[in-house]
Amino acid sequence: MSINATPAGADVSADETATSSTGRHAAVPAQRAGRGRTPLSENKKAERKLGWLLCAPAALVMVLVTAYPIIYSVWLSLQRFDLRFPDQREFIGLENYVTVLTNEFWWTAFGVTMLITVVTVAVELVLGMGLALIMHRTLVGRGIVRTAALIPYGIVTVVAAFSWRYAWTPGTGYLANLFSEGAPLTERASSLAIIMLAEIWKTTPFMALLLMAGLALVPEDLLKAASTDGATAWQRFTKVMLPVMKPAILVALLFRTLDAFRVFDNIFVLTAGGNETSSVSMLAYNNLIRGLNLGIGSTMSVLIFLTVAIIAFVFVKLFGTAAPGSDDSERR
């Protein structure tokens, strides 16, 4: 379905909900009473049971594979637990947290992660908005643009990272001598810039797609009316489009921010964390797999989890980001 058809599709679904709900009322008047705290009809009970039954497997898998490990990792983070010295395993309270939080590598990695997150998300918002407008409004070659934009989205991050790495490798790459004679991936500033470039290339299309979903909600009539009233293109963008798109923008920002915070693949391939370019994910990985230190690794896991939770909380509370799906269930 192209985006032109989406508003129509939305109408269809709205009509459908309307007809089906009226149909339901007509067919089973008792069901309406069911909402008013009167005893449940057999039908209603069966519907509940089926609902739970259908959701149970998905809910079970999701909780088992995330909730249990994260609780377990809190438990592990309170222990001295180095797989190289398993005999020394003991409960040490918050000592690991003190170790990590007073460690300069952690704070360097934290700073790097924050920097990458803020810069890439900001750039992606601007580029993504541009790309969304192009994909949504272009008069020619809409299919080609959309197909091309999906390639960075779909491509394996490691593959793209190798492409960037070789592009900047002196001797091999077409970009290596673009700015200077040196090897860009051996210096901190240029390495970070390349990591961010790789991230931005890879994820701008995703941002653009989320924003395009918001663009599709902007009523065409409203834009035409604004245009007739003499609004410039910039005014139409800031006064008409942006307000309508605000929820979509916030959701896109939230998702991309959290996603950017877990940056790992690109750094692993591009610099392997050399020259102080490690992200927190990279550091946790190194402590676990290279260092085999489960205690410290788990402590970092918990800290990253908490940071992400705080970011999400800030988005939801401060900016009122509506979780996708939440308004939908209210509408029903």
Partner: protein
């Protein structure tokens, strides 16, 4: 009026070209490297001067790559199948049934979509070692299903909400059995949504690097992205660049095919899940 249209077309066309070039250059570059001969590999030219297929012959001759490719395909396909089935069940319930706990489920899957995967790496590493799942297919399939489920549930419930379910009733009134109504009417309408979701989930599993590198240690379950990062030449004096690029191109082919053939579906899947989901 006609003049502005032409100019507008030109302007849009120019923007299109910029997007396409920007999106394709890294892909063309790695493909170009994979066709270069060892002698011209380090000439710094964007296009190969001498073409060769040797890099592809090399990787398909090594067990290391072929095993990883089999692992990648098998793990991604199984995880996709399970996630789509479980996701479809949950999405059907969410879009069609009324039951307490529905919003909780939607909330939980949203939380999981935002969950920092690296936080699971340490505990899963230890848990999977205890249960003997470490370095096995199920050891990777489980986390993949988990993180693919929110995507599957959102996309599918958006699709399911657009299906005119009353057609099912109509078919039954016309004398079709429940099974026939489902097979002939509902299944064909739901199929595109399921298919689109399957593509998105497959891309997600195919892409993963973090779980694959932490939860595997040998060729038993190592997937291609990880194998790539461990590639070394046949001898330590041999530069693995050509082989890495060839392997990278091989695992990019399915993505390119999906994108070429199903662009509309992928775009509608991603956008509908985002707005209406």
């Amino acid at each position: 009026m006609a003049e502005t249209t032409t100019r507008a077309r030109l302007r849009w066309g120019l923007l299109d070209v910029i997007v396409v070039v920007f999106a394709l250059i890294p892909v063309l570059w790695i493909a170009s490297l994979s066709f270069k001969t060892p002698a011209t590999l380090t000439d710094g030219k964007f296009w190969p001067r001498e073409w060769t297929l040797d890099n592809y012959r090399t990787i398909f001759a090594t067990d290391q790559f072929v095993r990883a490719l089999v692992n990648s395909i098998g793990i991604a396909l199984i995880a996709t199948a399970v996630a789509v089935v479980l996701g479809a069940m949950a999405a059907y319930a969410i879009s069609r049934l009324d039951f307490p706990g529905k919003r909780l489920l939607v909330g939980v899957s949203l939380l999981i979509a935002m969950f920092p995967q690296v936080s699971l790496v340490s505990p899963l590493f230890e848990i999977e070692r205890q249960f003997g799942l470490f370095d096995t297919w199920p050891g990777l399939i489980l986390p993949y299903i988990t993180f693919a489920l929110p995507l599957a549930i959102y996309t599918l419930s958006a699709f399911f909400k657009q299906i005119p379910w009353d057609l099912e009733k109509a078919a039954k009134m016309d004398g079709a059995t429940q099974g026939q109504a489902f097979r002939r009417v509902i299944a064909p309408l739901a199929a595109p949504g399921l298919f689109t979701t399957a593509i998105l989930v497959f891309i997600f599993c195919w892409n993963d690097f973090l779980f694959a590198i932490t939860l595997t240690s040998t060729e038993r379950a190592r997937t291609v992205p990880v194998a790539l990062s461990f590639f070394t030449g046949e001898s330590q004096f041999e530069d693995p660049t050509g082989a890495i690029c060839a392997a990278a191109v091989v695992i990019t082919i399915p993505i390119i095919l999906f994108v070429l053939f199903f662009q509309r579906r992928i775009v509608s899947g991603l956008t509908s899940g985002a707005v209406k989901g």
